[in-house]
């Protein structure tokens, strides 16, 4: 009974999560071919051991070498990292005051405010990104408003630039930043701040010396939750970014769907995974520490 209970989800995840990665790795070592499926070699079980050896002999790291030779790929990796870092910082800047305001709001409001932050989670990601296209375009609502106020004389070009990508990322990932920071700030004992102020701290230095360090865990968790998925982001750079916005998720998609180069797409995926392992492990450690601290 217990065995069966463990075995069913275990085998499911092995078959549909681990095995696919093994296949991706294998195909990343293969060569592009004009065939169905479009790569060689394919393993033929009927040929037995000799066939397997021949199959192994044909695998090589050519695609990975290719990734280092063509500037497109490492530029895309670097630019994804850069975009992820900048947008994580921006999300923190926008999200922290909101989380702070929520934690300081009267208690009877908090459940409502919490619900208001969660609700966008449930609405379609695609629609939320799409809604910015109408706002940021050349004849969009933002430019209309700015021209009408008279701040600018010429419409700004925002859509199809990296600025639009940053706005889109901050907008869609904001709840991921707000929630952990809010959770940390809500636990914070206000009397600590009062003590700091009694002891002669100014409001600001009390905030800097007490509030920020005590919400550190929330800041770290929120930053990882924004940073990790942003690196592989595809929808936002494709809809809001321009042709010059390089992100590795977009490169992978195009390599696969437009160029139909499955081996290179697989190699791109493997390298992306290797890059992501570091932040994911750091994030897990942080969560672990948090859990131990709570107990």
């Amino acid at each position: 009974m217990r065995r069966l209970l463990i075995a069913i989800p275990y085998l499911w995840l092995l078959a549909l999560f681990i095995v696919p990665f093994v296949i991706v790795f294998k195909i990343s070592l293969s060569d592009l071919a004009v065939a169905i499926p479009p790569y060689t070699p394919t393993l033929d079980i009927a040929e037995g051991w000799a066939g397997f050896k021949a199959f192994l002999a044909e695998l090589d790291f050519e695609n990975y070498i290719w990734l280092t030779e063509d500037a497109l790929y490492w530029k895309a990796y670097l630019s994804s990292l850069k975009i992820a870092v900048i947008s994580t910082l921006l999300t923190l800047l926008v999200g922290y005051p909101i989380a702070y305001g929520m934690a300081r709001a009267p208690e009877e409001w908090r459940a409502m405010l919490f619900m208001l932050v969660i609700l966008p989670f449930w609405t379609s990601f695609l629609i939320r990104v799409y809604s910015w296209m109408g706002i940021l375009s050349q004849e969009g609502y933002l430019n209309q408003v700015l021209l009408w106020i008279g701040v600018i004389n010429e419409p700004l070009v925002i859509l199809n630039t990296n600025i639009a990508v940053y706005i889109g990322i901050v907008y869609t990932y904001l709840p991921f930043m707000i929630l952990p920071i809010y959770a940390a700030l809500e636990k914070l004992d206000i009397s600590l701040l009062e003590a700091a102020e009694d002891l002669g701290c100014s409001r600001f230095s009390a905030f800097w010396l007490v509030t920020i360090p005590l919400s550190k865990q929330g800041i770290i968790a929120g930053s990882f939750l924004v940073f990790i998925p942003t690196i592989g982001e595809f929808v936002i750079p494709s809809l809001l970014g321009g042709s010059r916005t390089l992100m590795i998720g977009k490169v992978l998609w195009e390599e696969f769907f437009s160029n139909r180069d499955w081996p290179v797409a697989s190699a791109v995926a493997v390298v992306l995974l290797l890059i992501l392992i570091i932040p994911i492990v750091l994030f897990q450690r942080n969560e672990q520490k948090q859990r131990e601290a709570d107990q």
Binding site: I98, P120, W122, I127, Y130, G140, G232
Partner: protein, 272 residues
């Protein structure tokens, strides 16, 4: 309690305006008469008519709902099993790998998950369509369900289960009669989460579906690439409305259940 400072009020106002304004604008302009989305030309519901007459959208919506329903049911069953294993099964071989496999899909970029599953389906020679999307969605949604359910499993009093076992219940009976009713709200919200995750997914569905099955996000994607259109605004409004009604109803039901449970617990305390 401290009074709200002007700073907190401003940051909340601006923050929530930022979160909600784009969607409000989208909803308002879905009622725009003009084909030009950025110019207001009077109130009209004609784009809603267009959406409801567009059979391509309706077909895609049907595929999406089918996929979401099947995958969320499967994900709920598997995810609940996973949660029970994680919280109650104690030590077993390969536990670390198991917990890794639960958390990893949640942080994995969708392009990688999609690509790897597609390559699996191809090497197995499977025909791609509704079935393969269901398999893919179940796999990542079950991880979310297991997280939601295990947080509830951790927090409730395990002695209730032990009491049921002592009183002669089989483990299955104890689960059905004691554990399941207690974790039911978490299981339901897990199901809802799985359902909306599946409704929403573009990237994984694009990789794992074949020519026979197009989901609504895929359909929206291909028309959105060409720019903003009033029809998509109307369709988006309908989707936002459906989700909002669903989430609000669910939270009301949940609130009522919590209240009832609290009343029952108080009554039980009085008796004791």
């Amino acid at each position: 309690m401290r009074r709200m400072t002007w700073f907190n009020v401003t940051s909340l106002t601006f923050g929530f305006a930022f979160l909600y304004l784009p969607m409000v604008i989208l909803i308002i302009f879905s009622f725009n008469e003009s084909k030009l989305v950025t110019v207001w030309a009077g109130f009209s519901t004609k784009w809603y008519g267009e959406v409801l007459r567009n059979t391509a959208f309706l077909d895609a919506a049907w595929v999406t709902v089918k996929v979401a329903f099947l995958s969320s049911c499967l994900a709920t069953i598997l995810g609940t099993m996973t949660a029970i294993v994680m919280v109650r099964a104690g030590r077993f071989r390969g536990r670390t790998l198991f917990s890794g496999m639960i958390y990893a899909p949640m942080v994995m970029p969708e392009v990688i998950t999609g690509l790897s599953l597609l390559l699996l389906f191809i090497s197995l020679g499977m025909d791609r369509g509704v079935f393969t999307i269901v398999l893919a969605h179940t796999t990542f949604a079950m991880c979310y369900v297991s997280v939601v359910v295990s947080s509830r499993l951790v927090s409730f009093d395990q002695s209730l289960e032990e009491a049921a076992l002592d009183l002669g219940c089989s483990p299955v009976q104890a689960f059905r009669l004691v554990t399941l009713p207690i974790i039911a709200p978490a299981v339901i919200s897990g199901w809802l989460l799985a359902f909306t995750l599946s409704l929403d997914d573009l990237v994984i569905a694009s990789f794992t579906s074949g020519p026979s099955a197009t989901t609504l996000p895929m359909k929206i994607w291909s028309s959105v690439r060409l720019g903003v259109s009033p029809e998509i605004n109307a369709l988006s409004t309908i989707m936002i409305l459906v989700v909002a009604i669903g989430v609000i109803t669910a939270s009301l039901i949940n609130k009522r259940n919590v209240m009832r449970q609290r009343r029952e617990e108080e009554a039980a305390d009085k008796l004791a």
